[in-house]
């Protein structure tokens, strides 16, 4: 066991801290596209998101290992530096770099499997936030069983012509592009008939109908395709290889849905509330049942933080076996966060249910919001039940369900 990052990181940390001090209080002039975009302090410097992204790239605080020719910083990938950056940004309340399905899922996929032309065309603009992407996978009849998707793509005169429907497509209403799974080989077996296509959202024939979700804030969409025509070249990987391409990105998505350090920050915010608020003359922190539950959750979050250090360690020390530690993160992290946010609502009681712009909101209503939002993340990106199937079958080697005769 050695938790020292080594001397070269001391200097790096200092640099990051002085950067953070310089930009403390920076905030954006343009609207957040995602409800999870960090809330920044009022005052300080004003900046657009794109400007912020390009500053971060120039410093090497974002897109570190992405080659310069595609708009990245062009350095070595360094998980420790990434961790230092994330920690210090969060400690100093400096806005994190943008994230989202384009940055977290599409960019890694293109780097791995895209053509040169695709990399040049999309990566830089995505990193700068000039192209926002949405993920068109799920359909009304293909959720957990994603490979049964039916949206059809036919190659006609050198163009893909797409017909069908996607659903629960997050951020589609703000997106310029969609990466999309489409059935292009109707004769092939279920998994072998899918292709991974890149679709400009302005293409005629696309209709987006926002679908209000339980938070009333986040909002995903239904997306309808009627003879949507895009160039043949807008395919990643070969025809019929879309399932493998998509699986490359699903691993990226699952890794990015939970952050144990952000969860610990929420524990600390909750402690602040519990020290301030009183009920019947007693501080919340002094009420034994709440106090006990708070410590229970703090311990659980600590365990999750330690688990993520172990996962990090395996990236630095090839050969270290942490398969299970990685596999549980999506399930464990989203359930834990949901439990924590929900506990905070309980602790506050009726005040905890205040929402939107009600008087007496605590922390801008974020507890109730995130309590619901994380229920969405428990379901999205592979439900908890599907995660448990994966943990049991691939992690513990338990037998698969007998196949039902397909009709």
């Amino acid at each position: 066991m050695n938790l020292n990052y080594g001397p070269e990181y001391k200097n790096f940390k200092k640099e990051v801290i002085s950067f953070c001090k310089k930009w403390e209080g920076v905030h954006f002039v343009d609207e957040a596209k995602s409800p999870l975009t960090p809330i920044t302090k009022v005052g300080g410097k004003k900046i657009t998101r794109t400007e912020w992204q390009s500053i971060l790239i120039k410093e090497g605080y974002f897109a570190r290992s992405i080659p310069k020719e595609y708009g990245g910083y062009g350095g070595e990938s360094d998980v420790i530096k990434n961790r230092i950056i994330a920690t210090e940004f969060s400690n100093h309340g400096v806005p994190s770099p943008m994230s989202g399905q384009g940055i977290d899922m599409l960019v890694p996929t293109l780097l791995e499997l895209g053509t040169e032309q695709q990399k040049k065309q999309y990566i830089e603009k995505t990193l700068l936030g000039e192209i926002i992407w949405c993920q068109g996978y799920s359909e009304p009849n293909a959720g957990s069983d994603l490979a049964s998707l039916q949206t059809k793509g036919e190659l006609v005169d050198g163009n893909w012509v797409i017909n069908g429907q996607k659903i629960w497509t997050s951020t589609a209403q703000y997106s310029q592009m969609m990466f999309c799974l489409v059935r292009t080989e109707p004769e092939a077996k279920k998994h072998a008939g899918i292709s991974y296509l890149l679709i400009p959202m302005e293409t005629p024939g696309i209709e987006i109908r926002p679908l209000v979700d339980m938070t009333l804030k986040a909002g995903f969409n239904e997306v309808f395709f009627t003879n949507v025509t895009i160039p043949e070249a807008n395919i990643v990987g070969k025809r019929g290889e879309g399932w493998a391409v998509a699986n490359a990105t699903l691993t990226h998505e699952r890794g990015s849905l939970t952050n144990p350090n952000a969860t610990m920050n929420r524990v600390n915010s909750l402690i602040n509330i519990m020290k301030k608020e009183t009920i019947n003359g007693k501080k919340l922190i002094d009420i034994p049942v709440y106090r006990d539950k708070l410590m229970t959750l703090q311990a659980k979050v600590m365990a999750f933080q330690s688990n993520s250090l172990r996962v990090l360690s395996a990236k630095l020390n090839p050969g270290q076996d942490v398969k299970m530690a990685g596999m549980i993160q999506k399930y464990y992290g989203t359930e834990l966060r949901h439990e924590l946010e929900g506990f905070a609502v309980d602790v506050m009681g009726e005040i905890g249910t205040l929402y939107e712009s009600s008087p007496h909101l605590r922390d801008k209503g974020s507890w109730q919001f995130l309590y619901m939002y994380y229920l969405g993340l428990i379901i999205g990106g592979g439900t908890s039940q599907i995660q448990k199937n994966i943990i049991a079958e691939r992690g513990l080697g338990m037998p698969r369900e007998p196949k039902v005769q397909e009709v």
């Binding site: 311990a299 330690s306 250090l309 360690s313 270290q320 530690a325 513990l396």
Partner: protein, 362 residues
């Protein structure tokens, strides 16, 4: 940066496991418990001592291996995994740490060497300093001890007892003293021993540095909690392995029960709950060894969290085995009970969480 057990630690841990699998399988453990087979028990004890288990935490200047708590934590996982009928906690962890931090030169010389030479073994009675009960307690006065202590750990067959009073002062009592009476208690866990001890003006050797400093006691308890957490961690690991193996073998409705999702999900939940516990326990031991500022809170959280997780695992793993799980034949209950008693030793989860809150000035 490397987060995990070192090669040496893994190697030693595996050796302990291998020894126990060869020499202390369940049928031997049952014999020891049911027929009070002293020789069998001594074989196990001697074998483990031959591996060097008694010298891990003794500093090199006293001839020991001078290893850190993380090492002992890895060993404790193996002991829990194999429900070893062996008292590691008191003699080889809590006593050395209390002595190293609380003893004067002479005391260290005498007792640490005694442990190393396998001449001395310790029981530990710290309950009164953690959760004192109204009908128990004792006083140290003029190098004499009077009163009684409950839930003294590992007091079976030992040369000395380590006691801590409500002020955190630690004293050593020689068990050959005529003025003490050791009464065995019967808990559900028969793999280790728990006692009540009555002192009637018995002689006591008070650890000099513990008179003015509470740290020797606190450190010993922190270490003990981490070691207990590791024991339950190992026991839980064994339970999950048994449940998964059984689920692949046992058939009902024409298929392995492990292919039923209800069973699969119980196993996945057990694995997900336990996995972060490895990291938490190792991290806590690492803090104990290297980052004192964070150590006490980590030790508290490791003990209480692993206690909660392993309690649920001991239930679910039993359920996966169906009626078989409830039988003595299968013996799952040995792990269930070991976990059950570890949970209460050195502070129940609720007691420890209250301490965790206080440590943070909450």
């Amino acid at each position: 940066m490397y987060f995990g057990l070192s090669e040496d630690q893994e190697f030693f841990k595996d050796n302990v496991s291998k020894f126990l699998q060869d020499h202390a399988p369940l049928d031997i453990i049952k014999k020891i418990i049911e027929d009070d087979e002293h020789d069998l028990k001594n074989n196990i004890k001697n074998g483990l001592v031959n591996l060097g288990i008694n010298s891990l935490l003794i500093p090199e200047e006293y001839g020991g291996l001078g290893l850190d708590l993380l090492f002992a934590t890895a060993v404790s996982q193996s002991l829990g995994e194999n429900i070893a009928p062996f008292s590691f906690l008191s003699s080889y962890v809590m006593a050395p740490i209390a002595l190293i931090n609380g003893g004067n030169t002479e005391q260290k010389e005498k007792y640490l060497k005694g442990i190393l030479e396998n001449k001395y073994k310790f029981g530990v009675g710290f309950s009164e300093s953690i959760s004192a009960r109204n009908d128990f307690g004792f006083i140290f006065k003029d190098n004499k001890i009077n009163g009684k202590s409950i839930f003294v750990l590992d007091a079976d067959d030992v040369s000395h007892l380590l006691l801590a009073d409500e002020n955190g002062v630690i004293g050593v009592v020689d068990t050959s003293d005529k003025n003490i009476e050791i009464i065995k208690l019967t808990t559900v866990d028969k793999t280790r021993s728990y006692s009540e001890v009555i002192f009637k003006n018995a002689s006591i050797d008070v650890l000099e540095n513990s008179i003015t400093d509470i740290e020797p006691l606190k450190k010993s308890i922190d270490a003990g909690r981490i070691i207990l957490a590791a024991d339950s961690l190992g026991a839980s690991e064994a339970l999950i392995r048994k449940a998964v193996a059984y689920s692949k073998e046992r058939k009902q409705f024409g298929r392995a029960i492990g292919s039923f999702q209800a069973v699969k999900h119980m196993c996945a939940e057990m694995a997900s709950d336990l996995e972060p516990c490895y990291s938490l326990v190792w991290h806590a031991a690492h803090c104990f060894d290297n980052i004192p500022d964070e150590s006490r809170l980590m030790a508290c959280h490791a003990k209480s969290h692993v206690s909660e997780v392993s309690k649920v695992i001991s239930k679910k793993a039993t359920e996966v085995h169906g009626g078989m799980g409830f039988t003595d034949l299968m013996g799952i209950h040995y792990w269930f009970k070991r976990i059950g008693v570890n949970r209460q030793n050195l502070g129940s989860p609720e007691t420890i969480r209250e301490e965790a809150a206080k440590i943070q000035n909450l």
